[in-house]
């Protein structure tokens, strides 16, 4: 068992009927790291992330958050986690502002504990004019921003995000990249992100895991992964080489 890691994914497998979505995947994420899961559509990224945050139960294997098993001691493990799903289902009848305080109170925070954070994140993502509208009236991008802010205001030690930049405007993408770098470098938060966006992967991620048809086919820190395709290689060259594809 690896100790001191923020996230340890140890040989997880998950099937839906006859389809094996995740097949014996293992990796770990340190505090202060930004780990990106990459792979084609249907490769098993989303299933992996949902297993990590305890929304799906693996058929075998285990997940540790700061050494605590997500399935043995769920409450203790998830206290440290913030999560952004790929398509956030948020309570349609609440406003984003209400939702932030609702989520915080579920974690036991008082309003005054997070007021400052809420204000600053809302301003950072340009949501000032949207926070008092019902969530159902939000655009897809603003819904995504709401989910991101909700995941961050609970002061997590581990943040898991599934395609966080989908539908988000360019301004917010830039802000997001700076924010996650700062969280990793200064606050030593561990981030596990699945993404298809090359600028995010190349500009932010410190570690990469490439998944194909439920299996982890390459994994390591960004420099090591880039060297697979030779000196000064870009991530897209590595990806194409590993996947055995050419244009």
């Amino acid at each position: 068992m690896v100790t001191g890691k923020a996230i340890v994914v140890d040989g997880i497998t998950k099937s839906f009927g006859e389809v094996i979505a995740v097949n014996n995947i293992s990796f770990s994420v340190d505090h202060g790291s930004i780990y990106c899961l990459v792979g084609s559509n249907g490769a098993g990224k989303t299933t992996t992330l949902k297993i990590v945050v305890g929304l799906l139960k693996p058929d075998s294997g285990r997940v540790l958050i700061e050494g605590v098993d997500v399935y043995v001691n769920r409450v203790e493990a998830l206290k440290r986690v913030g999560f952004v799903p790929d398509y956030p289902n948020l309570p349609a009848y609440l406003t984003p502002l209400e939702f932030f305080y609702y989520v915080a109170s579920l974690r036991g925070f008082k309003r005054s504990d997070i007021e400052e954070d809420v204000r600053s994140y809302v301003k950072l993502f340009g949501l000032e004019n949207e926070v008092n509208k019902p969530i159902i009236a939000l655009s897809r991008g603003n819904l995504q921003k709401t989910a991101i802010i909700a995941a961050l205001i609970v002061k997590p030690r581990v943040v898991v995000m599934d395609e966080p930049l989908t539908n988000i405007d360019i301004d917010s993408q830039i802000i997001f990249k700076k924010l996650v770098k700062k969280m990793a470098e200064e606050d030593k938060v561990a981030l596990l992100i699945s993404s298809h966006m090359l600028p995010l992967i190349e500009g932010v991620c410190t570690h990469v895991g490439i998944i194909d048809r439920g299996r982890m086919i390459a994994e390591g820190d960004m420099d090591t992964i880039l060297r697979i395709a030779g000196e000064k290689a870009r991530f897209e060259d590595v990806y194409m080489k590993i996947m055995g594809k050419s244009i």
């Binding site: 009927g17 799906l56 999560f83 398509y87 309570p91 009848y93 209400e98 579920l106 309003r111």
Partner: protein
Amino acid sequence: MKRVFLVTKIVFMNRLLTSFRSYSTSRRGRVLAKFGVALQVASLVLLIIIFIASAIVTHMEGRINIFSYASPDDPLVASSLITVFILSLLYFSGAKAIVYYPSDEFLLYQPLQLYEIYIGLYLGESLAYLLITALVLAFFLRIAPKIAYTLFFSVIFVILVLAPVIRLVIVVAFKRGYLEIVRSLLYIYIVMGVVYTVYEVLNQKSFTLSPLLLYPASAGYLLGIEMMKTLSFVAIAIYPLTCLGLGLVLAYPLGKAIDVSDFVSFEEVAFRRQLSLKELKRDLVLDWGSPEEAVKKSLLYPVFTPRRVVTRYGLGMLVALALGKAIRFAVKALNINIQVPVFIVIPVLATFLASLTYSIVYEFLLYDIKFLWILRLYLADMGIYARMLLIKSFIKVMLSAEILLLFLAELMNSYVYASAPLILPLPLVLYAFTLTLFTLPYMRRVRIQTIADVVRSESTAFARDPVTLLLGMVNIVMAYVILSTLVFVAPVMVSASQPYMFIVLAAVYVSTYVVYKLSVKLLQKKFTEVDVPI
């Protein structure tokens, strides 16, 4: 015309595929879905065989007897039903647009005239609908010729001709700002019909519905019957085609008046409906308190419950009381033994209760269990959630049952029925628990995003899903059991335990509490362990 038939074929195939698709990943689920397809095909074949067999085997005298059932009095029932349908279609049509399924959207950017798309859409849908309901039609035609023939022709006429044409009239009238005029004409028409009916009743001292109210629908029926009398068996086959032809003729000029913005996707309509349910006029809730209070507020407080849901129960109770009183009055006037209806109304009320509680299931899917992922991630103790959700569903089940029991109490003039949920709350707790439990696998199977997913699941896509079927069956059986228990056991309990009433009630409440606690435990375990697809 060729393009119209091409669109018809595409829509027809899309509808059938959607209806027969299985969302199950298990082998058993897929086998069940295939069985559903086989059943549909068999029903169509059966329908055809029955038509042919009735023409060959049945003695001519027998067929004449069947036709003789269609006496001129028969249109009364069918026509009044259909008139009500048409009038409600005209009045309650909220979308004021041509609604299409997402699978048909590509038609809108093909080189087709809009009226060709519209006609193709409605032809394809109508034919698919006819195929899907073939089993029911075959059943009716086999065992109950009188009702079957009456409704068969009228329903086909409405489906194939009147409904789509009326829909087009609404769209065009709305577009040109005439909808209020159309509605006003409708009111005048209804008032005239009612006044004429009252006049006739007063004059003839017997109840006769004004023919004015029947004209819109009786045409289809009479046309069908007349054709059948003159052309005999052949007419049965050509009748639907005649209806289709008439529909085409009527839709063609109207179809030219529509434009692309009149086509609205099913999802869009459902989204608009959901948007109209939102609560905007309230103060923001920023202080949620402890985790327990937060869950309680979000699940139980009416401020987050759509107004429609809150007012539904109050209105339901008033209507139930009024209806019970009216029927009691009528039963008394007609000198019918009042004891008889209790046994007859129970299954009917149970079916009603089952459909009433379906709204609870949809609310679970839309507003409560849909957000299970948030609670799984951010809430330490799922027991709080299990407790609140069970209380919420118990209250709703109790209110739904109370609507029906008030009706029964008023009908029987005995208010012991109305107090049955208080005397015997145990079956209601069990029912609430079962509903909640059975909604979970449904949620797990389907990624619910909007109300459209739920509405569609009710109407087409998941109609043959094994989980949905199971949910439906359990709901109906449970509704029947709890209503029967409340109606038959509660009054007996009150009268039989008179001297020890408080002891019996205490025992009932203690056992209810035990069942409630066990239910919460089980739900807590389920909510903690179930796979959440989000």
